[in-house]
Symmetry: C2
Subunit: 337 residues, 2 copies
């Protein structure tokens, strides 16, 4: 048995049992992968995969049982390397962050800048995706740390901690009638044409749920992954937008500073009373060794996060906090234990 064989098995599972892709992903030859897996199966005395003719169709029961051990082994091998880097005094390193557009665009610039100031040698890589992709990037160890509002808490192999809360806001041109409204109602919104997030991101589910509960079906003109796109189409008059509050901070500052704002400037109206509060969470893969600059970065994300708290969470002190829905979480509950 050797580690290479285990890597092949893990990657093959991740690539839906396609050995050709597996070989490509691991920069080696396909026959080599095939042979290695067969030899491993022979040594262990059981087939890991069911073969239909010459094609791998599914994983066997012992294969499934062994996969957990394989994942654990390779995770710890990764940890050995990380610990090596850590103690070798190599301040250099790579901080790989998986996150959604909203976080990358509006929330992370501050923390990332500060991290770069403190650790100039650390290269930061931002991986952007929808929350499910963020989770997957953590689980496959493509990313060291993840940040998203959904999906993270649902995975058992992720450790998540609340980072900050935010609410949705309505985005309209200053001249729009709703701009003056202090507390718009669902009915008022439903009367408009809306420009919303795509259902996979940034609390869109909360919005749908609120309308559904009120038995309203708003017209949706356009769905977008990111807030900038939404704002662009609102400016074009396609409809009124609903975005995360942090996406409007720049406009809020500009409006406050300007003496005579233009009528087509965008303004925002809080909608927390309609859609509730959202909690953005930071996540790590359970059992993965974190270099100190990863922890330092986590601390930069929220005044509520400190080294001791992170250590406890990573040790598993807080029971898996996933409530299934993944969306409605009370941040306080994670700490009080």
């Amino acid at each position: 048995m050797n580690l290479q064989q285990l890597r092949f098995v893990q990657e093959a599972v991740r690539r839906n049992l396609n050995l050709t892709e597996t070989a490509r992903a691991l920069h080696t030859s396909q026959p080599g992968v095939s042979k290695a897996i067969r030899e491993l199966e022979q040594e262990l005395g059981v087939d890991l995969f069911v073969r239909h003719g010459k094609r791998l169709t599914r994983i066997t029961e012992p294969g499934q049982a062994m996969l957990a051990s394989v994942e654990s082994i390779l995770r710890e091998v990764g940890n050995l390397k990380r610990i090596g880097d850590e103690y070798a005094g190599r301040e250099a390193g790579t901080l790989s962050i998986a996150t959604t557009h909203t976080q990358a665009r509006y929330f992370l610039p501050g923390p990332v800048t500060e991290l770069r100031r403190r650790y100039p040698q650390v290269q930061v890589v931002l991986h952007q995706g929808v929350p499910e992709q963020v989770a997957k990037m953590l689980l496959t160890e493509v990313a060291d740390i993840g940040l998203a509002t959904e999906a993270l808490a649902a995975h058992d192999d992720l450790v998540t901690l609340p980072c900050y809360e935010w609410e949705h806001v309505l985005v309209v041109p200053r001249a729009h009638p709703l701009a003056a409204e202090k507390r718009p109602t669902l009915e008022q919104l439903a009367a408009q044409t809306l420009v919303l997030y795509h259902p996979t991101v940034t609390g869109r589910t909360r919005i749908d749920q609120a309308f559904a509960r009120a038995r309203l079906s708003p017209r949706v003109a356009l769905e977008a992954i990111d807030s900038d796109v939404i704002k662009t189409y609102v400016r074009l008059g396609l409809g009124v937008g609903i975005v995360a509050a942090q996406a409007m901070q720049e406009e809020a500052r500009a409006n406050a500073a300007a003496a005579a704002p233009a009528d087509d400037d965008l303004v925002s109206v809080p909608l927390g009373h309609l859609f509730g509060a959202n909690v953005t969470r930071v996540a790590f893969k359970r059992g993965v060794y974190l270099r100190h600059f990863v922890l330092a970065f986590a601390e930069l994300l929220s005044p509520r996060l400190n080294a001791a708290l992170l250590a406890r969470a990573l040790k598993g002190d807080f029971a898996a906090a996933g409530d299934g829905s993944g969306a409605a979480a009370e941040p306080a509950s994670d700490y009080q234990l």
Copy 2:
């Protein structure tokens, strides 16, 4: 990096950093071990061991940190093999039991016989030692399952469950004055010359504590590891003995059956009122895959142990039950959760 290097590191630590012994233990050449470790250190970028000249003196801080990962990796590699054996349908296998003399001699014959009846292909290996050795055999994966009354609960990496309770009994020849006593006192015992267990085994600590609390210092004629030796010397008139009740079951049966017992036959008198109840525990190494015959054997050990309960305990559902003292445990507390 390869698994062989990791095996060398693990074994070197277990052998007090003596690479010559390490090589011998792993059936390979000493220069090979030396080279492999150096290459691993080079690859990881840090030294695992501190060297004084050409001698390894201690483990470095990163070495210590990495050791946890190494242990985890090798444990899971072992699990892969065990899972392979399990699913390969090889009913054959080896059940390695680590235990103390008292368990091996008086308690285990029943369960072992029954296991052999159910799994004729399984070879049973009994490893005997004092409780600390039992714990070590489990931790080094020399044994699959351990059974002892002390020491097991103190180790964090062991999962332990209560198996049965027993009390100490006084052992005297039938003609001895104390043989007729229903509830001997500590004072009566202290007036005798005693033949006891060695301090490392079978609840001897409880006996010492009881005398100490009563400010009595009994004369001890002889200390022995096993009950048979104690009984032998009691027969010779060296003193009165104190052993585990189960060590006297054979004599109890014989005495009940015999019409006219001889005066030098040994009889026992319960001493639970003086030394309390002892709990013999079964233990496994945390995270090690257990073949089904190991679990079946565990179930044979006590009517209180069943598959579901074992599964929960091994999953970590019961918090580490170690109370530090390791001796006084209430079995019920392990279950009610």
